[in-house]
Amino acid sequence: MKWVQKDIEMFQEAREHIDTVLVPMIGIDMGTGMKQSAQMQEFLAILASEIERQFKGRMILLPPFTYWPPSDSLTLQHSALSWKNSILEEGFKHVFFITCDSLWRGNEGELGGSLIWIPSIPLEGLDDHYKRELMSGQVSQIANVFAQKWLVEK
């Protein structure tokens, strides 16, 4: 479900069925990496909305966790962790963070298994049909991660 009124109304009616939250994480860089930062954002937004479409009935897609490149990644880890804890406190069972930012690679800290890192693929100049195929490939890979987590719980 998306973070929009209509979907949230549906969520409130069927709360017991929705136990997962997906948070995209996006770094903003207005310096030399500006273009790349925008491209990552674009890729991640499409990816997240495709995942949401696939798992609409079990997952809420939050607005992205957005940050400037920090001087130390520890602070960032902490604030991401506090998102996670707040979400868990609301009674959700699974929180997933999804990002393309290499900052998080090997830097998961306590986020551990809830972080999905995926390299962004420039979609610029790709044929529409090929784009869709590429995206659905990525989605089905990530779907496996969810399916496994859900299965463990079952």
Partner: protein, 168 residues
């Protein structure tokens, strides 16, 4: 040329009738158009979108067909891609199913669960549907999958509005 002379009165009569006629027509035509409009609308018959699927290539095994169109929602215009699972049933009739789970709206997939082959499977709450879209009792969905209206033109499959499941 005939020598028939047109009097001033006659001339004015002709001109006034002519001009008046045009004016009356100008007023009546739009009204007539509005009155007839619903009839014309119905004949257009919904929006069908061409897919890349050739009807001849369809088998009795559900095939995933993507089709996109532009959707305008207030100020937000977007390209929407919808998925249909299309196959030919035993009578050779085309069945186009909408894979939106009737439970909470996830997207179901064909034949992805090893324990229940040849069924539509929803990964979220393990809902299942048989090939014709009927929900399997005992799984969360309470209604069968919706269908798309379809038509065939030049051997290509066109898909239209989503309609509730009906017996094929």
């Amino acid at each position: 040329m005939s020598k028939h002379r047109v009097s001033r009165r006659q001339f004015l009569n002709y001109t006034l009738t002519g001009v008046g006629g045009f004016m009356a027509a100008g007023m009546l035509m739009p009204m007539l158009r509005f009155a007839v409009d619903p009839v014309l609308e119905a004949s257009a018959g919904g929006n069908f979108v061409a897919t890349k699927q050739k009807v001849a290539d369809l088998t009795d095994k559900p095939t995933r067909v993507n089709f996109s169109f532009t959707q305008k929602d207030a100020w937000y215009e977007s390209d929407v891609t919808n998925i249909a699972w299309v196959y030919k049933n035993n009578d050779g009739k085309i069945v186009a199913l909408n894979p939106t789970c009737k439970h909470l709206g996830c997207t179901v997939d064909w034949n992805t669960n090893k324990d229940h082959p040849n069924q539509f499977f929803c990964p979220c709450h393990f809902g299942r549907y048989t090939k014709d879209g009927t929900n399997v009792p005992g799984t969360p969905p309470l209604k069968p999958l919706d269908m798309y209206e379809y038509k065939v033109k030049d051997g290509i499959l066109y898909l239209g509005a989503v309609v509730p499941h009906k017996e094929a």
